[in-house]
Chain length 370, copies 2
């Protein structure tokens, strides 16, 4: 982890140690306050343990829900590879919101975006990654009949909605928000309209009153652009709400989990691979010798294994607190902490693999059709 005070957050890059207070101020978002937290007490750890820390209009979304209006959750996936743990974050949250509020969930699969941005990605591979990733998502347990997955290269009707939005976004605006360069291809420059069409899709096609989008805080510029468009007289939509996550560290403890690095747990990893990766790469908050560790204790706040338990794998607060205390006191060694995590991950992945197989049978009921 870097300790320099400068940091930079854009939709494509995160460097430095992120000051979330400053981001909230700079972006003009709101911290998730106690009133909202009280509504999320039984939600996924990502929501109730502060990994999602900021929002736009989520209070209004809750009010709309309580007033009986149709609210929805939307989060998308740009599939350019097999999925890893970090990719699951917004989907775990979307599922949790669906469970808590019994609302519809929309999952746009932006195979076009990845195709535009990655020079070497072929059209065929983009579609093939989509097919694989969709099964991973269904395996998370979304409700059939209340969950709608649509893929840009398959459900091309999305172009009709994107076109209407594209008309109201100038190249200058898109350039400012997305940092487009003249040498980028024109699919890339069109994509902001596709993304806004995704976010407004529940309003376009399902009469939703309001949609909340769980995203990494780095993706907020896209939310802002869509909020501006939503209110245009062509549409008169309620602005979408957002829930913003902090960055999920890689095993190395880097600020943002990235598939370009080895320290990533893929959903397809074998138990042996998981064990090896966690033992070899998971950044430890422990001391360098057992003696020192027993004497000084570990630091769970920077320990990636502990953080993964907190974010993903130990929903029981009492058990998590116990691990925290044991590790901090030095009674629990880094190897022991890692062992807990390895077991939890492998339990999850084993179950996930089975559910992914099951997903093939029910796939069709999740695919949005006109």
């Amino acid at each position: 982890m870097t300790t320099k005070s400068n940091f930079s957050v854009t939709p494509w890059d995160v460097t430095g140690e992120v000051n979330y207070e400053k981001l909230v101020k700079d972006f003009g978002t709101s911290f998730i306050n106690d009133k909202i937290h009280n509504r999320l007490k039984t939600a996924h750890p990502l929501l109730r343990r502060g990994i999602y820390f900021s929002h736009r209009d989520f209070d209004k979304w809750l009010e709309a829900h309580d007033a009986g209006k149709k609210v929805s959750v939307l989060t998308g996936r740009g599939p350019s590879e097999r999925m890893h743990l970090g990719h699951l974050v917004p989907f775990l949250v979307a599922k949790s919101l669906q469970d808590e509020f019994d609302c519809e969930v929309f999952i746009p699969i932006s195979d076009d975006e990845k195709f535009y941005v990655k020079d070497q990605l072929t059209y065929e591979n983009a579609i093939s990654y989509s097919e694989d990733n969709i099964l991973d998502l269904i395996a998370l347990g979304f409700k059939p009949g209340k969950t709608f997955i649509f893929e840009d290269f398959v459900y091309t009707s999305i172009y009709r909605y994107a076109a209407r939005i594209a008309k109201r976004i100038t190249y200058s605006e898109a350039k400012a928000v997305f940092g487009l360069k003249p040498e980028n291809n024109i699919g890339w420059s069109f994509y902001p309209a596709m993304q806004a069409a995704h976010i407004l899709f529940p309003q376009f096609v399902r009469g939703a009153h309001m949609t909340v989008v769980p995203v990494g805080i780095d993706q907020d510029p896209f939310i802002r652009l869509t909020r501006d468009v939503a209110e245009h007289r062509d549409f008169h939509f309620t602005k979408p709400a957002a829930l913003h996550a902090k960055f999920i560290p890689s095993l190395y403890g880097d600020p943002k989990m990235s598939a370009s690095k080895e320290g990533t747990i893929y959903l397809s990893d074998t138990p042996e691979e998981v064990k090896k990766k966690i033992n070899k790469y998971a950044f430890s908050g422990g001391q360098s010798t057992i003696e020192d560790h027993r004497r000084l204790g570990g630091n769970p706040d920077i320990d990636v294994s502990y953080q993964y338990l907190r974010m993903f794998f130990e929903p029981d607060d009492a058990k998590l607190d116990h691990i925290y205390e044991e590790y901090k006191s030095g009674r629990m060694l880094s190897g022991e902490l890692k062992k807990i995590l390895i077991e939890k991950i492998n339990l999850f992945l084993d179950s996930h693999r089975k559910k992914k197989e099951e997903a093939k049978k029910i796939l069709d009921s999740f695919i949005y059709k006109e």
Copy 2:
């Protein structure tokens, strides 16, 4: 008609008296030579009387046809209003090529383009103009089963092909060819990919070896862009050929017929409207008094009524020559020439209206489906 020697031709604007020799040289196209002309002796007057005067690779298209390869014709329509005579030009040529060479014809309807470019055009109106225009096109007599019409906002699968092309056109390139401005919307900047996808569509979906596109010479920059893309290693398509038309004058004799002016014959005009428009607005090559006309004769080469007969309404060369001589000698007065044209137009429009009614019944057989 202006007589200044400066002229300018872009895909959006034509000013001055056009020097076609210079255009062919500047654009790097070829004049239609005698060898090609001999293949078009029985074709539509627009083809055999030199209104189509330039080409790219049409000789290769003919060779491919003769070698038994699958060749096709493609010309599109961006519907933003009712159709007028000038709009028919490339379609009359496409039909003629279909009749001569028994080839497939593809007609993309770019309702999205007009929607992007015309700020006030609503999505609903764009689609409604498309529906009306499509009936006008079918009424021209294209062969069912060999003619495929597809509309961007309806046959949205076109997005799949446009995306693959978009990836290979940078914003800089599109800007250079289309004169895009930063304040233009991002739909507009994406449209070059849609247009190239239209042109390459017969190759993408029907295994065509080569396609020829009849266009106004001002549209050639789009052809060039598509020819560049066609050869990319992603596609390996034979470059599309083009047939280039001179500009069809408005009734006023302006270089390019434009719907923004009154001097335009709409396919929906009543006989009375046609009569009034021709009598009132059709630029005459006659003298200002009957006496002068009898003595000096008229000038058919600048007379719009004569030109319309030559281009559209008098396919019989002997009859056309006769009119030419009569008018030039002064034996035929401008009013008499106009009367011939009015009758011909009204005959055509009366028949067209009936065929357009018939078209509603066979519409479905022309719509491309996957």
